[in-house]
């Protein structure tokens, strides 16, 4: 049977998030009263509401056909990894090092074979970034890798 999987998964995921938030708020934060609301009041209500809305999205989707989602796992992993590398690399590798590493990783899933263009791209973007942010905008950043 064909089902609208994106809506089912999306709706159920929201329900899960809503329930978790609501449960956490109920357990950890003071609800207060209607007149003097505590810090838990809003998150608890919003969590419950989100859980309900998730079900409203997911349940009707069980009985209808939907558009299949086009997932691109390789692109997603490379793009997210390049951001994480940049984040952790910035204090250690400096602006130049972090940029080069993250550009190289990001370019991996591009539908064009060969290494030459990737290296050229890496050098070009690194140069541009250092020029714009460090020289031009004067952001206080270490440019080169930190020597041990």
């Amino acid at each position: 049977m064909r089902r609208d999987w994106p809506d089912i998964c999306g709706g159920l995921a929201l329900t899960a998030v809503g329930l978790l938030a609501c449960g956490w708020a109920l357990a950890e934060y003071d609800l207060g009263t209607l007149r003097r609301m505590g810090p838990g009041f809003f998150p608890a209500i919003l969590g419950a509401l989100l859980a309900a809305l998730g079900l409203i999205v997911a349940l009707p989707a069980l009985g209808r056909a939907g558009m299949p989602a086009r997932v691109a796992p390789r692109s997603a992993v490379a793009v997210l990894a390049s951001i994480v590398i940049f984040g952790f690399g910035l204090p250690r590798l400096g602006l130049a090092g972090a940029t080069a590493a993250s550009v190289l990783v990001a370019s991996l899933p591009a539908p064009q074979p060969g290494w030459t263009w990737r290296i050229v791209l890496m050098v070009a973007i690194t140069l541009l970034t250092v020029l714009v942010f460090s020289v031009g905008l004067r952001m206080t950043l270490p440019v080169w890798p930190r020597l041990p």
């Binding site: 994106p6 809506d7 609301m37 810090p39 409203i56 910035l90 990001a106 899933p109 973007i125």
Partner: protein, 504 residues
């Protein structure tokens, strides 16, 4: 000094070469920085602030103001061309601007954004000049109950902007509101959902959220998209310019957006974001064929752009006339003045008329310069789309990271972009609207804080929302809007049923 004398004096002041040069410098820098994804006016101004210690206070403020609205023009370009809004305001512009690009109407979309931004700022300046005194009283007349009621009306009105199922849109608003709860609760000081991370005490970084939801999700979806590997868009000069029909469609939305923006901009808070969302919602409501929205409707670009630029101008009203900055950017501007030994406030208009009127005149001159600067650039921006996407996106990612980093200088926020980006990509796969999440996130803390504050001040009496006249108007309007929506939905269903019966 009468208003006209003041304005003439101001124009004379702002046209002095020594002042004009900083205005030009500001708008050029602002445009350039605004185009970089993730770097908005806030980051640009904080980076440039130390530079202004060495110039006169008038020149400093005029330059920073130039950066401020220059960054708005640039931000519109980034969100239209690449769906990379650096701020919630330009997220609205991306809703219809980006579909226009994919239809091959890039030039028209950019023209619409520029022209309506300019028109919006002219409206804003007119309002500033004529109604500054009245608007400044509005800022103190609004209490916590009034803000809460107004924000709720804004939320309800704008919740309809998503396309597709209502439940999905509403779920995104709710998720946004919930994410807005993260951080220290203003009313109790309790740290909610921070899990011991000091970086989360002030909440999730807004820029990280916007870039993760829009930018990163967009890049992931397009890395292997054959359509984006160098779009060879054949466009002559004629296709870059809007047709007469386009211009006619832009007229009223621009005026309405400008009016909305002028009003909300003057209120401390998030006037500019609220006004662009409201303008979009309004255009969708009055449009004869609302289903075109989200698929490249030019009104969806013109209205919000006009609104947020008008709001950017009138946001100076409480800052200059009361010395009360409405948002972090205005607080920065105020800081810049205080560093120079000038305390804006109720006495500024009398004590430093050259400053006030010079600034007002420079707003006009700066926006004119931006229009002149940006129209020829449209050709260059369109040409940029021909660059294969694989050459662009690694640079986009690095710029996004640096843009987010520039806000607070914390690498935590960069890693947060990756996490939010993953969530944003999954939400995009299931066709949930990120713009509505962003709206909920921006308005949520304001609604919660003001609602609870209003009840605290009234010692727990909920009647405060009906006793205060401003709040009462908003409450009634919200109820009317809800009833109207319900009635429309009921009528639609009845018509659909009637059609089906006829068909049978």
């Amino acid at each position: 000094m009468t208003t006209w004398e003041g304005l003439l004096y101001g124009i004379g002041f702002a046209l002095q070469p020594g002042v004009l040069v900083y205005c030009v410098l500001g708008v050029v820098l602002g445009t350039f920085v605004g185009v970089l994804p993730g770097i908005g006016a806030m980051a640009a101004i904080s980076l440039l602030l130390p530079v202004t210690y060495y110039i006169t206070p008038e020149a400093a403020l005029i330059m920073l103001a130039g950066v401020y609205y220059g960054a708005q023009y640039g931000g519109a370009v980034a969100s239209i061309l690449m769906r990379l809004p650096g701020t919630p305001q330009s997220a609205v512009t991306a809703l219809d601007g980006y579909p226009m690009v994919r239809e091959g109407r890039t030039g028209v979309a950019l023209f619409a954004a520029m022209a309506s931004s300019f028109a919006g700022s002219v409206i804003g300046i007119a309002v500033l000049v004529m109604l500054a005194g009245w608007l400044s009283t509005a800022a103190t007349a609004f209490g916590a109950a009034d803000y809460a009621a107004m924000m709720i009306l804004g939320l309800v009105a704008a919740s309809t902007i998503g396309t597709g199922q209502f439940a999905k849109g509403f779920a995104m608003v709710t998720l946004g509101l919930l994410l807005g709860c993260v951080g220290t609760d203003v009313n109790s000081g309790v740290q909610r959902f921070t899990f011991g991370q000091t970086e989360l005490l002030d909440g999730i970084n807004l820029v990280a959220l916007a870039m993760g939801l829009f930018g990163v999700a967009e890049v992931v979806a397009n890395v292997q998209d054959p359509d984006r590997q160098g779009v060879v868009e054949r466009i002559g000069f004629r296709r870059m310019l809007p047709a007469w029909a386009d211009l006619r469609q832009m007229g009223w939305p621009t005026l309405r957006g400008g009016a909305l923006g002028s009003f909300f901009g003057a209120l401390p808070g998030t006037g500019s974001t609220l006004s662009s969302f409201l303008s979009y919602a309004m255009e969708r409501r009055v449009a004869r064929r609302p289903e075109r929205f989200g698929k490249g409707a030019i009104e969806g670009v013109a209205g919000p752009e006009s609104a947020n630029n008008a709001a950017a101008i009138t946001a100076f009203v409480p800052t200059l006339t009361l010395g009360i900055p409405g948002d972090p950017i205005m607080a920065l501007m105020l800081g810049a003045l205080v560093i120079h030994g000038i305390q804006p406030g109720p006495l500024m208009l009398e004590a430093r008329p050259e400053m006030f009127w010079g600034l007002v005149a420079s707003f006009g001159i700066g926006n004119l310069l931006l229009l002149i600067l940006n129209l020829p650039l449209i050709g260059i921006w369109v040409a940029m789309l021909r660059i294969p996407f694989r050459w662009l996106y690694p640079a986009i990612l690095v710029f996004v990271c640096l843009g987010v980093y520039s806000v607070r200088g914390l690498t935590f926020d960069i890693v947060a972009v990756a996490a939010i980006g993953l969530a944003g990509y999954l939400l995009a796969l299931a066709a949930f609207s990120p713009a509505l999440l962003l709206l909920g996130f921006v308005l949520g803390p304001l609604i919660e804080t003001n609602l609870r504050r209003a009840l605290l001040i009234s010692r727990g009496d909920p009647m405060v929302f009906l006793e205060r006249p401003i709040s009462a108007v908003f409450v009634v309007a919200t109820i009317a809007l809800l009833l109207l929506s319900l009635w429309q939905a009921w009528r639609q269903r009845r018509n659909a049923r009637a059609d089906r019966r006829e068909a049978a």
